[in-house]
Structure formats: structure tokens, C-alpha cells
Symmetry: C2
Subunit: 185 residues, 2 copies
């Protein structure tokens, strides 16, 4: 089937509720074959960024923070929301510095994914930062409680396989690095 035969035709997308970090929407669309009309929920959210930052020794910068959705502490990589008008790369550099105090000399876009395209309209921009080192004190957002540590890349991969790193968007970033292989992205 072509994309045209797969695409629903969107008739309307209207705001429903505002949750500050995203807004829900009611989407009305018609079936590509039958024309039958159905309603779907959408979530409008800003783009996000995350960063695999590596020290000169090749260790990755990891963080631990509590997440309200799962009500659990997760091991992650630094990241956050892109501010209005901010370039994703700048957001990534800002989040790395704010959450961990690290700065990096070399930056590369690993890739862009849709965190949850069934319901969310945003994208996650995933970066690789090299020659990362502490350069300032962390500057947490109100309410942010984050602790930083480093680990060899092989250990980060092992943590993913063991389930000790289980945040899907963090795993997606490491996917790009792992697939790129020893030669790098």
C-alpha cells in the first residue's frame, strides 16, 4: 500500500486539556478506504533532547532521577525539553550543563525519533557529545533532583541488557550508537 492508502484524512484537531508540559487534543479523521469518521486523542508537546556525553576516557555521563509516571528512580542520560525558539543542539548543551555541570567540546546529532507517534506529535533529538568534562555546578530546574555518575560505555550497554537502564528514550539513543558500531556514527 502507498502512503496515500495508509493515511487517515484529518478533519479537525482541537485542544482538549492543558497539562502544562503537554496539551491533549481531540483529533477527528476519516478512514483512508471507507471514509468512516473516528475520534482519536493526541498530545501536543515541545520537542525533547537527550545526550550521550563521553569523557576523554570514553566513559558515559549517566544520571539517576525519580520519575513521577512510574514513581521510580531511573538511570538515564541528561536531557529535557526544548524551550520555545531554542535550537535543539543548544537545548542539549544547556541540559547537559544544568543537570550535571558537564560541558563537551564536540557534538554530533545521533538521530531524531518520535517518542510516541501514535499519540504524541513531538520529536526527540539525540546527541553524542565527546570530550565531556565537569565545568560548572549543576543548575537544577525547580524541583529537579538529579545525581550524576560515569560508567564505561560497555557497562552502559550491559545495564540496558539487564534492564538497569529501562527508559525507552535513553535506550533509543544508545541504539544509534550501538548500530553505528566501533567506527562510530
Amino acid at each position: 500500500m502507498t502512503d496515500d492508502e495508509l493515511r487517515w484524512r484529518e478533519i479537525a484537531r482541537a485542544p482538549a486539556h492543558d497539562y502544562r508540559i503537554f496539551q491533549s487534543q481531540r483529533i477527528r479523521a476519516t478512514h483512508p478506504h471507507t471514509g468512516a469518521e473516528r475520534e482519536f486523542v493526541g498530545l501536543h508537546a515541545p520537542d525533547w533532547v537527550n545526550v550521550i556525553a563521553r569523557t576523554p576516557a570514553g566513559d558515559v555521563v549517566l544520571i539517576r532521577q525519580y520519575r513521577h509516571g512510574t514513581a521510580a528512580v531511573h538511570v538515564e542520560i541528561p536531557g529535557g525539553m526544548v524551550d520555545p525558539g531554542e535550537a535543539p543542539l543548544v537545548a542539549a548543551q544547556r541540559e547537559l550543563a544544568e543537570e550535571t555541570g558537564y560541558h563537551a567540546a564536540r557534538w554530533l546529532l545521533l538521530g531524531v525519533v518520535a517518542p510516541n507517534p501514535a499519540i504524541m506529535d513531538n520529536r526527540l533529538h539525540m546527541y553524542l557529545a565527546d570530550d565531556a568534562a565537569p565545568g560548572s555546578a549543576p543548575d537544577f530546574d525547580e524541583g529537579e533532583v538529579v545525581t550524576t555518575f560515569t560508567a564505561p560505555l560497555a557497562e552502559a550497554y550491559a545495564m540496558i541488557r539487564r534492564g538497569d537502564i529501562d527508559h525507552a528514550l535513553v535506550v533509543a539513543a544508545f541504539a544509534h550508537l550501538a548500530i553505528a558500531g566501533p567506527a562510530g556514527p
Copy 2:
């Protein structure tokens, strides 16, 4: 910091709005250090599953479907929501058959991730299915419009790196396969 120093203390989690495939919640919690109370949004959703199914030739079963969140067609792997009372493995087998008509002889859990732990409370169970072959006609959910094709695993990896596969939860499944390496998971 220990987990205890990172964890917010949740005071209340109350239903807000029902969107059928998930419900929003208002969460009230206190800061682990200051005790300051803040409100957060949560989304309560069922668990999800997805499947990397490989044919005897080693090709992976891919699908294309339109996603309302992004209003775009995405290349993905089969998957869906776990029904109430259903085991995740059974859900994965059911979704593979319903979306593609494929059945597989050998099943392995690749891993479990939290799709978006900041806001969602659910988990994604990712499977690897081997010796997959067509065995029945697809049985689409109401409104589902899906087309199936196969590609060598190396091509699926290349599609991820090119951004032709950009669904984060699909990328997360391939992460586990890629990290496990040539010896497999």
C-alpha cells in the same frame, strides 16, 4: 545520592480525564529534601508489546502504518496494547498474527522498558520471535490500516540510522538486539 534522597513522596494520585487508551492523573508529591509540595501530571495506560519477528531467512517483519500523533506514516514492527488479564507474550503473539498474519515458533523476551517514565506508568515488553512465517490472514482492529513487508536485519538497522525507522519504541527493541551482538540475546 541514594534512591531515598532522590524519591519524591507521593501524597495523592487522582484521575483527571479519560481518553480511552489512557487516563490522565493529577499527582501531588513532596520534594525529597525541602518537603515542598508540587503537582505533576501522570498518564495511566495499559502495558504495550512489540515484536521483532525474523523469518527462517533472517529477514525481519516490518509494517507501515499511519500514526495520528505525528500525522505521518511510520515504518514499525508489529505491536499493540496488552488486553486486561492477558499475558504480555500472548499479546505479542496475538498482535503479530492480527497485524501481519505471521506466526512464529520461537519466542524470547528481549527486554522491558518504560516508554516514558516521566509521565506514563506503563511498560513495553519487547520480544524476539524466530522462524516466523505467514500462517493466517491479518485480522485488523477496527480502524487499523497496516501493510506488511520484510527486510534483512542489516537493512532495518540502516533504516534506523537513516531515520527511516524513527518510532522510538521500535528503535528501543532493535537496541537490545544490536547490543546483544552477533551471538544474539
